[in-house]
């Protein structure tokens, strides 16, 4: 469970996140909001790339703020970026394997772990292909696979479905829904694709101007008049 308590992030005179408090406990949670709402800043706070001015961040009861970004990865926090970060001259296998170089070895053998994750994310057929040789769908799945190896506890996925067509989005959706069963990790999903959010997230947080605009079951949140006005333009 993610617990945010009065988190404030300030860049100069701009409050990117303003006294944000929320509790997210669904297996797959959505984070939506208009551009500049503070979504990516919140993900940066969770992953340790941005230090908040004040507030407290807990995940599964652990206070994350004292931990450096690398320590958070070892703890089990994983994230993907809006722009996929597949390394062109590494194979798909090595792209995923690279994460396991820096997290404590789990009970499973490393090769077995990578193989299972590649199989789960539809990457088994391209395992030995270079990053430069795979298409956008596979690149997006590599990002997901990197987040799934070892024993992840929280996945922060920043627009993992950007640029995918309908069929590919359906496969991604299935993968996201199965994460809890596959690895037992919670997922925080940021995406502008409301259909993807509605299909995968039981609970959704809506941000606007760094503040919490709404939080609750996704269907209710998406039907909220304030949310529709601020985000959906209705």
């Amino acid at each position: 469970m993610i617990r945010l308590d009065s988190v404030t992030v300030q860049f100069g005179g701009l409050k990117a996140i303003d006294e944000l408090s929320a509790e997210l406990d669904a297996p797959v949670c959505g984070l939506i909001g208009p551009n500049g709402a503070g979504k990516t800043t919140l993900v940066n706070v969770l992953s340790g790339l941005v230090v908040p001015r004040s507030g407290r961040v807990e995940v599964d009861g652990s206070n994350l703020l004292p931990l450096a970004p690398v320590q958070r990865v070892r703890w089990g926090l994983r994230r993907s970026f809006q722009t996929e970060q597949v390394v062109e001259d590494l194979t798909v296998w090595d792209n995923v394997r690279a994460v396991l170089d820096h997290v404590p070895a789990g009970e499973r053998a490393i090769a077995q772990d990578v193989a299972e994750v590649l199989h789960y994310t539809h990457l088994a057929d391209v395992a030995t292909r270079l990053g430069s040789e795979i298409d956008l769908f596979h690149r997006r799945m590599v990002e997901l696979a990197k987040a799934l190896v070892d024993r992840p506890r929280l996945l922060l996925l920043d627009e993992p479905g950007a640029g995918l067509d309908e069929r590919e989005s359906a496969l991604l959706r299935e993968a996201l829904l199965g994460v809890q069963q596959f690895r037992g990790a919670q997922v925080l999903l940021i995406d502008h694709d409301v259909d993807l959010i509605a299909a995968t997230c039981r609970q959704t947080l809506v941000m606007d101007f760094g503040r919490r605009l709404a939080l609750g079951p996704t269907a209710e949140v998406l039907a909220d008049a304030d949310v529709r006005r601020a985000y959906l333009g209705a």
Binding site: V87, L90, W93, V99, D101, H119, A127
Partner: protein, 369 residues
């Protein structure tokens, strides 16, 4: 544990697993990939062996010395290529680190009479430490700014080496002889002739290239690749950026130091005037021309640095024309061959082999049309 995804679009329903053990299903492809990688390593060994045999058979005394220098500098180029190809970092003080390695090797050889190999290793380790210091700005600076800072370091080393000079058997901490009595650095007993020393240098070059290839294929290489892709992404994958970046600078410095010691052994003495900061710039430029992403590029860059100017001299062409030639080659590389001459050659050979060993279409396929 293995949960598969169905492709039907229905959610939350684990599909029947077509491959009970994902590792077993992937094993053949992984084995084939590993075999390909080993083939690349064997090809490298074969090329180096053939090259040294050809040079030994075909070269006269002048060319033996020239190729020895060229392949020695290839050792240093391997470090520049490592930083640029693996991490995307431009270091313009590699030739200065060659001087560091040469100085330490000469001092230890003349002062303590240590075995040649120990002098080479000590030169490499000292240059490695100096390389890590040179790499510290890289934690904050990238691109042009890092290039400028390292170039200024090279300028500093140039002043230092010009003032201090290289040890040549004299007394005192600096080991500098006054007037007569300058000594040559002793070569290893089994490589005293020029021909044997060329083979000896090739053996060191092979060791260095294998060391770098081993790094590239291991945890360090994967971490460097992630850092090159983006530091935020690397950090988010758990990579300790400071550690792995310093490790790369240290390894690149080690290459330069080994080259410096081998250069000292080859020539016998080193001259401070030969280590101008501009040499580091030229070394980087020719690393790009040769190709920073493949071991073949380091060989080519070494040959471009020493063998091409020697060839022009032998043809009676003004030595300054070499600079013009290198400038044109750099433009060519930047515009048409971002992976350098080596990249072009490897691509060409890959296409050739694919054409030569392509399976002819079967009779059923021919009949289908």
């Amino acid at each position: 544990m293995s949960t598969s995804l169905s492709t039907s679009g229905r959610t939350n329903v684990p599909a029947p697993d077509p491959a009970p053990d994902p590792m077993q299903a992937l094993a053949p492809a992984l084995r084939q990939h590993a075999r390909q990688q080993w083939r690349g390593l064997w090809a490298m060994g074969a090329v180096l062996l053939l090259l040294s045999v050809a040079l030994l058979l075909l070269s006269n005394s002048y060319w033996l010395k020239t190729f020895t220098s060229a392949l020695t500098l290839s050792v240093a180029v391997a470090g520049t290529a490592l930083l640029y190809g693996q991490l995307g970092l431009v270091s313009l003080c590699q030739y200065a680190l060659v001087a560091v390695g040469g100085w330490v090797a000469l001092r230890l050889s003349h002062g303590f009479g240590l075995p040649f190999e120990l002098c080479v290793l000590a030169g490499g380790l000292c240059a490695s430490a100096a390389g890590m210091v040179a790499g510290l700005p890289a934690l904050r600076l990238k691109g042009l700014y890092l290039a400028l800072v390292t170039l200024m370091m090279a300028g500093g080393y140039q002043v230092l080496v010009s003032a201090v000079g290289f040890p040549d058997g004299g007394a005192g901490w600096l080991g500098k002889a006054q007037g007569t009595g300058r000594l040559m650095m002793a070569r290893p007993a089994w490589a005293e002739s020029d021909a044997a020393y060329l083979a000896y240098v090739v053996a060191w070059l092979a060791l260095i290239l294998v060391l770098i290839e081993w790094h590239r294929r291991s945890r360090a290489g994967r971490s460097w690749a992630l850092i090159r892709r983006g530091e935020a992404a690397a950090t988010s994958a758990g990579v300790h950026v400071l550690l792995y970046q310093s490790w790369a600078f240290g390894l690149a410095g080690f290459c330069a130091g080994v080259a410096g010691a081998l250069l000292a052994g080859g020539v016998g003495q080193l001259d401070g005037r030969a280590f101008a900061a501009s040499e580091s710039v030229l070394m980087f430029a020719l690393t790009v021309v040769g190709g920073a992403y493949h071991w073949l590029g380091t060989l080519l860059a070494g040959l471009l640095l020493r063998a091409v100017p020697a060839l022009l001299t032998e043809w009676g062409v003004n030595g300054f024309l070499a600079q013009v030639f290198f400038g044109a080659a750099l433009l060519h590389a930047l515009i048409t061959a971002p992976r350098g001459i080596a990249g072009q050659w490897v691509d060409g050979l890959t296409r050739l082999f694919a054409h030569l060993f392509a399976r002819p279409p079967g009779p059923s396929r021919e009949r289908r049309s």
